[in-house]
Amino acid sequence: MTFAQVLTPPSVGWIAIAPEIVLGVGAALILLFDVQYKPKRTHLGLATAAIVATAFAFAIVQYDRVQTLSQATADQAADFVATAFPFDAMIVLDANAVFGRFAMLLVTGLGLAAGWRLFERLGARAAEGLALMLLSATGFMFMASSTHLMMVFLGLEVGSIALYVLAGITRERTESDEAAIKYFLLGSVASAVFIYGVALTYAGSGSMNLLEIQGVLARNIFTRPAVLLIGIALMVVGMGFKVSAAPFHSWAPDVYQGAPGGIVGYMAAAAKIGGFAALIRILFTAFPDFISTWGPLVAGIAALSMLLGSTVALVQDDIRRMLGYSGVAHAGFILTGVVAGGAGTGEVWFYLGVYTVQLVGAFGVVAAVTGAATSGAGIDAFRGLSKRAPFLAATFTVLLLGMAGLPLTSGFVAKFGVFTEAWQAGYEWLVIVAVLASVIAFFFYLRVIVAMYMEEPVDEAVAPPGISVRASLALASLITIVIGIVPGPLLSLAGEASPL
């Protein structure tokens, strides 16, 4: 190796991780700027928004690149591999990764705007909160774009640890600390389970690269199927924790209730996107031939999540806990699409995209009504909201109906999509369970609407929400309705998002 060769930087596919770089560097810069210049919080917020927007722009560039790649001819194969699988094939640049970034960045932007009052309350710690938010987004985006189990795990940890801290960022409140500790302990267990699954998968297949695993298994030369199957199961369980699927959901309601109101929506949505992105990637890329093995497991988790989430949500008197359990049910609905295997990727992504937007919006309303820096949100606080704050009540209604999956909202199209895929894949019983669970779910969504529209108002006045909150809530409801009426474009976009 000559000296000149040593000095030539290797050509790496920076574009493949450009959004992550933007977010990571942005987070660092925000912290440093904050300690050095003590800027106004509004400026910090705008800077964060600009960082997210820049990352989104890069994601669009990536989308364009992916489109070009998909038309690559045979003699461009080397080029294709270099661009699509940079960093020794630890990262992949495909539509799945790009769609994950779209969803993640949209949720980050919405969550930032909807929870802005929290960052104002945080005072000197606002920059830390913003940086943590960006870092967790970075981690979860890596989960969507890694083809290597080690990278998936790193993304998982970067994202999760930032979320643990965010859950406890209003540290003077005991509930917030409690939520953070709970989230941390149970989340660590989940990570441990996941990494154990990774280890067993490695033991069973001899690789941690998802594509290689698939190749090894396709050649049918693996010798320890039992080890491998336990590995798959443990990885599914680990991700089940992250997306709060039953029976690994117990942290979700407590954390949603205790964490500061302004950040819960983002926390819930981000963990779901990251977890499902990785789950799709792992199951569909590495183990497509094992679908008959993991399919029933995932279907079982899905059915349990839907039934348990919907029924337990019925008896909640705290809206945040209610949304937590409804999140369990939604994890089940999304898993209903996962059982269909690669064919269902588009529907799963569509569901994930529209649901997380609704989730961030709904928690935004909750934060606007009961406080962005506090815990808990009793249903009583919502009585007669339609008279006290018509805008919040109307947007909340749209978002709740969207989550309930009523036609003309995006939630209906999403449910319809995953149900069709599951039925197509032969899981008729799961679809029946799912439609029944969605009827049960109507009860608790309607309860909130009843409280807002049909019961007498309580005296508490609701502080008028700020411009950013109103904008984000309006956007979330608008997306819910428009996508509900014109689902085509997003469906086709999500339909492209199958992993390479």
Partner: protein
Amino acid sequence: MLTALILVPAVAAVVVMLLPSDRKELALPVGFALSFVPLAIAGYLFFEFETGVAGYQFTQKAVWYEPWGISWNLGVDGISLGLVALSVILIPIALAASTTITDRTKEFVVFTLLLEAGLIGSFLALDLFLFFVFFEAVLVPMYFIIGIWGSERRIYAAMKFFIFTAFGSAFLLASIVALSVFHNRQFGSPSFDLLELMSLDLTLDQSRWLFAGFGIAFAIKVPVFPLHTWLPDAHVQAPTAGSVLLAGVMLKLGTYGLLRFNLNLFPQAAVDAVPIIAGLAVIGIIYGAVVAIVQPDLKKLVAYSSVSHLGFIVLGTAALTSAGFQGAVIQNVNHGLTTGALFLLVGMIYERRHTKKIEDFGGLAKVMPIFAGLFLFTAFASIGLPGLNGFVGEFLVLIGSFPSIPVFATIAAFGVILAAIYLLWAYERVFTGIPDKPENQKLTDLNAREIGLMVPLVVLMLVLGLYPKILLDRTAASTEALLDRVEQATTYEVPEQGRLADVFAGEGDE
């Protein structure tokens, strides 16, 4: 044209929503005025509709999302035409009857107009996905109308209404999903187009399960005994306009769905299920009537009479004869007119006395002669007095079902007698005698607005009673085609006297 029929009410709702919030009094008049546009469009359709053509007319189709095979697919035939007309007639009346609503008037008008869009959409949709969207979408406005503007137990009633219907819809949704998947397996692409799905090759088991899935959804909506328990609650608690639209149009979604989807898509299962459906229908007829007799509450009485009358429609559907189908279709419209009128009348007296208890009234005919006259007229129409509309429908249903299901038809005929008992007995207790209660003596008779509300309904009752040809001509070809479809796809043979030609041959002019 059909698209406009759906979009105009939706746009009208948006217009009303955008009215300045400090001019609350504008909402109702503007909404009322705008609701005449769909009426005009539907009127044009009604008279342009070509009689004697079996297929769908004025069809419009636009792809919605190709890979799923869903499309904006509209069309109207004899079965849906009357229901569309009924919807656009009842909406302005319901709005005009709602001047007493002072709280959140704007929202009320918006929800009513959205309801209209949803109802018309359901009747026009030829794509099952689209149908389901509208079918579910009508729930929300009605839920709010009952829940916000209803009486004391409105929340309970609204919840019960919503959950019952949503429960049924869940089965409908699963069945629609299944159909599209079966289409995908057989033809390689999913489809929700009713006409394409009719060519599906289903095993008997499949079609029975799917028939049950569709059937439960529609049976709850109708409602067929024993799934009817939400109906009295919803009716009693709903505001007058809500009751009118609920009984007048929304329940027809169920009977329409049975005719349109269950028979077309799963003919063999339908033929096999005739005893069950007819049995439940007859139970509904008798049970509804008997319960109506003992009701102390006037509104509840009308609600239970709905259960009874809708039983006739279901019976006509189960008869699987031309006359039965014709009767079911006509009775759909008739019941909308008469029951709508009865609910309006009950609403008028409730506004004056703030009670619906029969025992609180007595001798009202002396103080409110016009009101009494209109009530008696409507009651006769509802009972089925020859010359009024109710007679045509129920008579057709009965003569339609005698050839195929004579036992059920015989029992059902008693329903007509029971109807006379509960309505006339109620009339006697409310209107005859001397007004001995002091509150009743000061009651004022109907004012011009209220009479104006009733006039179009009364006229239509007379017209349809004396000259039903105007509607029957338009429904005949479609019901014949439906019968052909059932006969060709199954082992079922239409009995003698079951065809339209046979019926009218022996009957002469009505």
